[in-house]
Amino acid sequence: MRASWAETIMGFAVLAFAALMLTYALGVSGLKHSSGTYEVSARFGEAGGIQPGAKITVSGVKVGSVSDVTIDPKTYLAVMHLSLSKDVKLPSDSTAKITSDGLLGGAHIALMPGGAEDDLKPGGEINNTQGAVDLFGLIGQFIRPQSGSPAAASSADSAAKAPAAAPAPAAPKAAADLPEM
């Protein structure tokens, strides 16, 4: 009941530290969603492993995160909404590629800047995409090459008009309705 001064001061110190930390955390996360970022989208034939919150890198440096993953009801392609830092301006012909962090680890999106004069605008779309590599699909094809259809491009509608993006093999089930390359 009769608390000592030291205890009271320590209690306030802990509260102050927690309040400081909370302010900082809210500041950081608030910044991300307000003026500090802009959104672009990208379509992938195979979203394997990417979930909201996954990081986006350029040359291995984090520049943003995936804010949402939806499905395009017409083309059945995965639509990624990418939240990028305003400090990073990317050429409009940049490439987005889903990369695994390791054999079983989480996936992230790597952006490779292109050479175009104009930059990607907020709300724009990255047309050159490379979907996730389905490792088990690959292994399956390697073991039984005669079964199933050959590998199809995972990069969707963009693959034809942008041959620079190397098509990656994807799971047959995911690409079954796409034309063979």
Binding site: M1, A3, E7, T8, M10, G11, A13, V14, L15, F17, A18, M21, L22, Y24, A25, L26, V28, S29, K32, P52, G53, K55, K62, S65, D101, G102, L104, G105, G106
Partner: protein
């Protein structure tokens, strides 16, 4: 003593009956305590005093526990988790671990040690020195004056302390990641805040309210049923702490499975 002198089946039966009796007594005590806590008259001064001693004065110990736990957790995920690339989601694992499990449980266990034992020894000593009898003769219900404020303060304080634990635990993970593995605080926090859902924190707070009630209940029950002078009070103190800790861990499992399966 008599356990081996009589037939073992009877001993087993007696132990079972005693166990059932204890559950009944605790249940009755809890029901009466809740009834006193949720109906007037209340003693606001007692309630505030308990909030100060249960909640506020537990901040330093709970804060330290949280920081070191978050820091150690981050280091372990970094050094042990690289076998499956877990270090890439280090902030997320720390946040999940702290908010859902370690924050509520460790804060509760620290309070079981600090508060449940203190309650048991205080109430036990009051029993032993006839202070509780004296209170009855002064037309005051000890359940309302002593028990209810402690149950109220413990049940409400612990979720608040757990909120602090969550914040400071993440801070511990963040600071260690910054100094030892060079992960920038901004990215750490951004990852944490993006990843955490409201339910991660809420489920931890719901659990900690239950844990808080357990702490208050065990402290008061063992104190109130203390018998046999100073030695009895000592025993009550230990029992309060141990039973609170065991019940907290059991309730943690039960509640987590209810949440996980819902």
């Amino acid at each position: 003593m008599g356990l081996f002198s009589t037939n073992p089946v009877a001993a087993l039966g007696r132990a079972t009956l005693e166990g059932v009796g204890a559950i009944g007594r605790v249940g009755l005590f809890a029901a009466r305590g809740i009834a006193a806590a949720i109906s007037p008259p209340w003693y606001p001064r007692q309630i505030i005093a308990q909030f100060a001693s249960v909640g506020f004065l537990s901040l330093p110990v709970v804060g330290l526990t949280a920081w070191f736990t978050g820091a150690a957790l981050a280091l372990n995920i970094y050094s042990g988790g690289d076998r499956f690339n877990a270090e890439t989601v280090l902030p997320q694992i720390v946040a999940l671990g702290i908010t859902r499990e370690l924050g509520p449980v460790l804060a509760a266990l620290m309070l079981a040690g600090r508060v449940a034992s203190a309650m048991a020894s205080e109430i036990g000593a009051m029993r032993a020195t006839e202070q509780i009898d004296a209170m009855v003769t002064l037309s005051t219900d000890p359940r309302r004056y002593l028990i209810a404020p402690r149950l109220i303060a413990a049940t409400i304080s612990l979720p608040l302390l757990t909120l602090i634990t969550d914040i400071i635990g993440v801070a511990g993970g963040m600071q260690v990641s910054n100094y030892l593995i060079d992960l920038s605080p901004g990215i750490y926090i951004a990852n944490t805040m993006d990843f955490l859902t409201a339910w991660d924190v809420e489920s931890g707070l719901i659990k900690s309210a239950v844990f808080g009630f357990i702490i208050g209940l065990m402290g008061c029950y063992h104190g109130d049923s203390a018998k046999g002078g100073a030695r009895g009070v000592g025993r009550a103190t230990t029992s309060a702490m141990v039973s609170a800790a065991v019940l907290i861990l059991a309730a943690d499992y039960l509640l987590t499975s209810v949440f996980a399966l819902k």
